[in-house]
Symmetry: C2
Subunit: 302 residues, 2 copies
């Protein structure tokens, strides 16, 4: 299907990176969760915890235990960029409402240095955005070298909500799958490792989470009546996700479908995906561009 040439048996670069990564997973989510040929969304159980056999408490402990690894790798990525390395990472988060995008940002990205993170939440496009092609506003938010970019929603909204709600013509939606592949290939070619994540929850789980937002006054601001309208189109959304993933999963920009009914699992899984791509980049501390002994002497006299 298209140039979607990812695969399900983990022979891509992410798979090789796993060996270097943390050993808390029996097999890394980079392998287990990657959407490959013949991918079927309905085969992914939102309650599952692939590769991790521990309890919720062990999962929470595993998240904290790898905070330092993510942070240290990110700092090295940043340091290497100061002397010309062009690598960056782009994490794209897509999901139904309440699936936990915000929790990923807070609990996974929150452990890294804010100076090394560029977070952007894509809202409804502005008039200026709409006056351009749909990828224009996305390009402007790409991470600089040395930075981990995090997209809370993305250009995939243009083939998800726009498809489900018929906001663009079918031919235009069709054009976009190809445009996205070309765009992501271009971005990856410039040194950005792209990690695309769909957080996958069940419809029942969403009901419970929306109910919690209605039950708690400190959560009311996260709820809008429109959330229920979208929920009613659940099956259409699942179909739109399936098609989008199938059409845009490439080696340059693989998709990972992360079971997310258990928030703790989704967090360690995404954390591991990031650790794996950072190990694959393997950024190095720059060699000094000065004579250390000479600078020590200058410093002593200053």
């Amino acid at each position: 299907m298209g140039n979607g040439n990812g695969n399900g048996n983990g022979s891509g670069p992410e798979a090789r990176a796993v060996v270097v990564g943390s050993s808390r997973f029996e097999t890394s989510p980079s392998v287990l969760l990657r959407a490959g040929a013949g991918f079927r969304l309905e085969d992914v159980d939102p309650d599952a915890t692939p590769g991790f056999s521990g309890t919720k408490e062990e999962g929470a402990a595993a998240l904290l235990a790898s905070d330092g690894e993510l942070d240290a790798l990110q700092e090295r990525l940043f340091a290497a960029s100061r002397v010309g390395a062009r690598n960056s990472v782009l994490l794209i988060l897509q999901a139904m409402d309440t699936a936990g995008k915000g929790g990923i940002v807070r609990h996974v990205m929150g452990s890294a240095d804010p100076q090394g993170i560029h977070h952007h939440a894509f809202k409804a496009p502005t008039d200026e955005d709409r006056a351009h092609d749909f990828l224009w506003r996305v390009e402007r938010q790409l991470p600089e070298a040395g930075i981990i970019g995090v997209f809370d929603r993305s250009h995939y909204e243009d083939v998800l909500v726009q498809r489900v709600r018929g906001l663009a013509a079918p031919e235009e939606i069709e054009r976009r799958y190809g445009a996205i592949r070309q765009f992501e290939e271009l971005v990856a070619g410039g040194g950005t490792r792209i990690v695309k994540v769909m957080l996958h929850i069940s419809k029942d789980e969403q009901r419970d989470r929306l109910l919690e937002r209605l039950d708690r006054p400190d959560k009311h601001w996260k709820f809008g009546p429109g959330d229920i309208d979208e929920r009613r189109r659940w099956d259409d959304y699942m179909e739109a996700y399936r098609i989008a993933i199938e059409r845009t999963r490439t080696d340059d920009a693989p998709w990972y479908v992360v079971p997310a009914n258990k928030k703790w699992y989704a967090r360690i899984a995404v954390q591991q995906l990031l650790i794996d791509v950072l190990h694959a980049i393997d950024p190095q501390w720059p060699a000094p561009a000065f004579d250390v002994a000479e600078q020590r002497r200058r410093l002593a006299k200053s």
Copy 2:
């Protein structure tokens, strides 16, 4: 001096906020560290820990203990902005090299949700920046409502390094003090609480920290020979800081001189400054703009 009408006895809005804040300080840094009338930089001991009588370990524990308070206040600030509240916070960090700006961002801001932080490090101005007035690039980085903005360096470089190195004419430097006061008054009037921090280290402490950067291969990338050139102008910089603080300390945008030889103290002090302004804003959870019972019924049927 000018309209710099801050004061040293803590009767401003920040002082009132202290009562609500954490009690780990005998008196809040908002009071103790604020540059007031007759401010003299040489009166600030970089080794001191004003208002905090605990040990380094107790300081580190105090930082972690208030992580949650800062995070919770920031979330409420963000929530309130969703229904029209216009408040934001802007933390401006200025300091000599190695004074710990990066550590503040990592260890203080790092505890808040990345979604609620806008961090920007100002580098040397680009050609486009230079084609505009010096405040142009600053205005573009101001935090949106609901967000805590953090400036790592700022428009103050235009009256610090530019003054010390004679990069702008004396009349232009003179004009900028007034322009900064007007600009910050405008920003504050729009709902942004401005907190200006000078992290104050001693010249000896800087030598030790630069030496550490030379001793550790994983720190080499943070060092440049030019750092020693700047260090040689230490007294000129202290004078430029003194004048800048004296000319731009206002009730709208107070300056705090934070002793920073002890990193742990500087971190809890800045954390407390932020907690105090957030308490002063006192953001509230928004009331729901929908009928909760009706939405529960809709949800049950969906």
